[in-house]
């Protein structure tokens, strides 16, 4: 079709959409007309069939049709017989599964919430649950009814009539009796019985009832009071963490796409192609952060390669362009945010060049050059590396260009800068980049203790690094080692992450935010970017070594992180984001969803995809 034909078709559709939209009320009218004109597949006749429905359901259906033109309009009309919120929930369910049986939806409609919503979720997820058996459970009192539903999900053969008869038993005998009914004959390999995620069904449905909540620390609540508790969604996260409750865990890909959506949102709010540093409970979205935007770019390219969503590709390329636009004359990238920091951590009168930040942006440029072949990105990377070479002294320590926020004068986590320099050296043939990088890598590897510990990995000069910077150090060594084919660096990274794995597992699967030499820690909170980074490292090394134990710990950490991410929070700054700390009022980036946590969680989910495909499922 020629361009003019496309234009004519669009205009014809616009007229049809206008006619259809005229049956709708403002403000939905204009939105539907414009959207349908942009979508050549939506049928104006279908839109007109919605005319008799109530608002806002009519507009919801219209928007759904614009997004999914193949939806069965007759079903949408018939759903109109239900009241909200069930009607809207059904609409969402039909969007996910257009062949959903209306009779089944009617049979569930009579149930009371939250049981009704859970049942609808099962129907939408194509779970082989028999709705007649749901009826057996609907009259049971809560929370026993939800436990009974979980039992039915775990074991479709469970006798629901028998469970119904348990309804009058006193607790805890009733729940014990239920557990006996479920545990009978649980030896087959059905995933749900093993706590495996069932497509579309929150894992929480399968989980045992939560432990009774602990007493709330008044000081923590008072502190939360200074972080805009009135904003919808803030208290959800705070009390979730205070009570030690987990969010429902869904399939990996749902968490991945929600994380990427959060990242795209964090970019859109800045009005630039840079990604907002974080969403903070008091300050809202912070300014764009050049450093982390740099290393988010490769994540977006990876996501595009695996998921095919062109928005990720566009965001990656635009991010790389934005970084060129803000590159300093020296070739460096500035420290801190591009704009005033409301928290006052990064403010400086004039932009300060920062070697670490520069290295992270080089990673984004190099990857964009490899993906696009556009030499502008490689030229920018080379300019940056000429700056970086000047920052490394003869012993291999970065002495110049140290970021002004951290205070440690000697920093081993700049291995990530060395990785960027090695890569640029390979792309440009410029050997000075690689030789400076090797000096640093040799120095860091030479510092490593026999138990895998790296001195100088801390932001501060205190010998107490965050897992975030510990993992930075191991990432740089691994990636540089793989690029250079130098097994010494790879082995140094492996020793470190293997020790971190033991440190996490031995604590009952808890990775404290800080460690000191000897892998000691008394911290009671986690640094979530560090957790996600180590998950990725464990998964990467497991693939390299074909080591199932490392794959196991990495996959478990991904699962644990899912429980820290809310996918239904009403606040867009929280929904799909990943906090800096767990609990959210822990000791690192408190009351914030930080973009580097989202980036590393996306990396971990992408790596988990590979590990499951190439290592676990292949066995």
């Amino acid at each position: 079709m020629t361009s003019i034909e496309i234009l004519k078709t669009r205009l014809r559709l616009l007229r049809a959409a206008w006619r259809a939209g005229s049956a709708l009320d403002p403000p939905h009218f204009a939105e539907v007309v414009v959207q349908s004109a942009l979508n050549p597949y939506v049928s104006a006749a279908h839109l007109q069939m919605l005319a008799g429905l109530d608002e806002p359901y009519r507009s919801q259906c219209a928007a759904a049709l614009v997004a999914h033109p193949a939806l069965p309009v007759r079903t949408l009309r018939e759903l109109g017989e239900f009241d909200d919120p069930y009607r809207s929930q059904c609409l969402a369910a039909v969007m996910a599964r257009p062949d959903l049986d209306l009779a089944k939806l009617r049979s569930v409609y009579v149930f009371a919430d939250p049981f009704r919503t859970l049942c609808l979720g099962l129907l939408a997820a194509s779970h082989p649950v028999n709705e007649d058996r749901l009826v057996d459970l609907q009259a049971l009192p809560e929370p026993f009814r939800t436990r009974a539903l979980a039992a039915l999900v775990a074991d479709p053969a469970v006798d629901t009539r028998a469970i119904q008869a348990m309804g009058d038993l006193p607790e805890p005998f009733r729940t014990l009796t239920l557990s006996l009914a479920v545990t009978r004959g649980r030896n087959d390999a059905e995933p749900a019985r093993r706590g495996m995620p069932v497509p579309g069904v929150p894992t929480a449905v399968l989980a045992p009832p939560p432990a009774p909540p602990p007493e709330i620390d008044a000081a923590r609540v008072a502190e939360f009071g200074h972080h805009r508790p009135e904003v919808p969604g803030h208290a959800d996260v705070f009390f979730r963490d205070v009570f030690g409750v987990s969010e429902p865990a869904y399939e990996d890909d749902r968490h991945l796409t929600e994380t990427l959506e959060w990242l795209l949102r964090s970019r859109d709010v800045t009005g630039t192609a840079g990604f907002a540093a974080s969403y903070h409970f008091v300050h809202g979205w912070l300014p764009p952060y050049p450093e982390t935007t740099g290393y988010i770019i490769p994540t977006l390219w990876d996501a595009y390669a695996q998921l095919g969503d062109q928005r990720y590709r566009d965001a990656a390329r635009e991010g790389a362009d934005w970084e060129i636009a803000i590159q300093m004359a020296s070739g460096a990238i500035q420290a801190g945010y591009l704009g005033a920091d409301p928290q006052g951590f990064w403010n400086a009168d004039v932009p300060v060049p920062a070697a670490f930040n520069t290295g992270q942006v080089v990673l984004g440029w190099n990857r964009t050059f490899e993906e696009t072949g556009d030499s502008r990105y490689l030229e920018a990377a080379a300019r940056a590396c000429r700056f970086l070479v000047q920052c490394v002294d003869e012993t291999g320590v970065f002495r110049q260009g140290l970021s002004p926020g951290p205070r440690n004068p000697t920093r081993s986590y700049y291995t990530r800068v060395a990785w960027a320099m090695c890569w640029t050296s390979q792309l440009t043939g410029e050997q000075t980049f690689a030789s400076a990088a090797r000096r640093h890598l040799d120095w860091v590897a030479g510092q490593q203790l026999p138990d895998g510990w790296f001195p100088f990995a801390s932001f501060q000069d205190d010998g107490k690094p965050l897992t975030h910077t510990m993992a930075y150090t191991a990432e740089g060594l691994l990636q540089a080692g793989l690029r250079l084919g130098d097994e010494r660096y790879v082995a140094a990274s492996e020793r470190h992450v293997a020790a971190a794995m033991q440190a996490c597992e031995k604590r009952g699967f808890f990775l404290p935010a800080y460690f000191t030499e000897g892998w000691k820690s008394t911290e009671t909170f986690s640094c979530l970017p560090g957790n996600a980074q180590f998950a990725t490292l464990w998964l990467m090394h497991s693939l390299r070594l074909r080591d199932l134990t490392m794959a196991n710990t990495g996959l478990k950490m991904v699962e644990w992180l899912k429980g820290r991410q809310s996918l239904d929070n009403p606040e867009p700054g929280i929904r799909g984001g990943v906090p800096g700390a767990w609990p959210i009022d822990g000791g690192y980036s408190i009351f914030s969803m930080v973009n580097w946590a989202a980036k590393y969680f996306a990396d971990a989910l992408l790596e988990a995809r590979r590990v499951k495909r190439e290592l676990v499922d292949a066995g």
Partner: protein, 227 residues
Amino acid sequence: MPARLFVLGTFDQAETALYDVDLMRCLHEAGITPAGVVYKRSRPAENPDRPVENGPGPDGRHLIHVHDFNATDLVQRLGELSADLLIYAGGRDLLRGPLLASARLGCIGGHYGRLPEMRGMGTPEWSVLIGQAPTVAVQRMTPGVDVGDVVMQARVPLLSTDNFASIRERSYYLTKTMLALAARRMLLDDVAGTPQAPGVGRQYYRLHPALHLRAERKLTRMLSAAP
């Protein structure tokens, strides 16, 4: 056999039934009459702050109810009772040095996994994943995780219809039997245990569901390939 053997375990049975649990039956068949049982309940609220002793009864046996096997009072009491050997019936307690040293021959416990290669948790599944025969071992307990001297170990017989639940169940009965046999031999000073070679083996942890599924698939293949 006249020996001062005490069984340590978490039991929710009535006190009158504690001498009728599986391990006790195995000990009885091995000709050993325990001098007492040290027990706690699975619900912490049901345990006393300090050890409560009931006995000795007419049969001369002691029942000691505790909240923590490492309690100083208990360690002292076991010393007073001149314990020869302790058997840890199983669970996730960390037994500390003073308790383990309170009996002349120390304490033995069971473990599902070949030592020294396979320490930690989820060991039947990990055994299959790494291509090792599911094994149960009796070891002299130490404060470390599964690093004690190995007194006895044996492969778990496998059936073509097995799954991990049935393997665990068989491992359970095999362990109780082996604990009774090992206790008998130790009380006769017939065996002392072989120290584990340092640096051999590794510690395993709870499995992610995806790994569990892989272990199940591998077990099915392994059993169907068996002659």
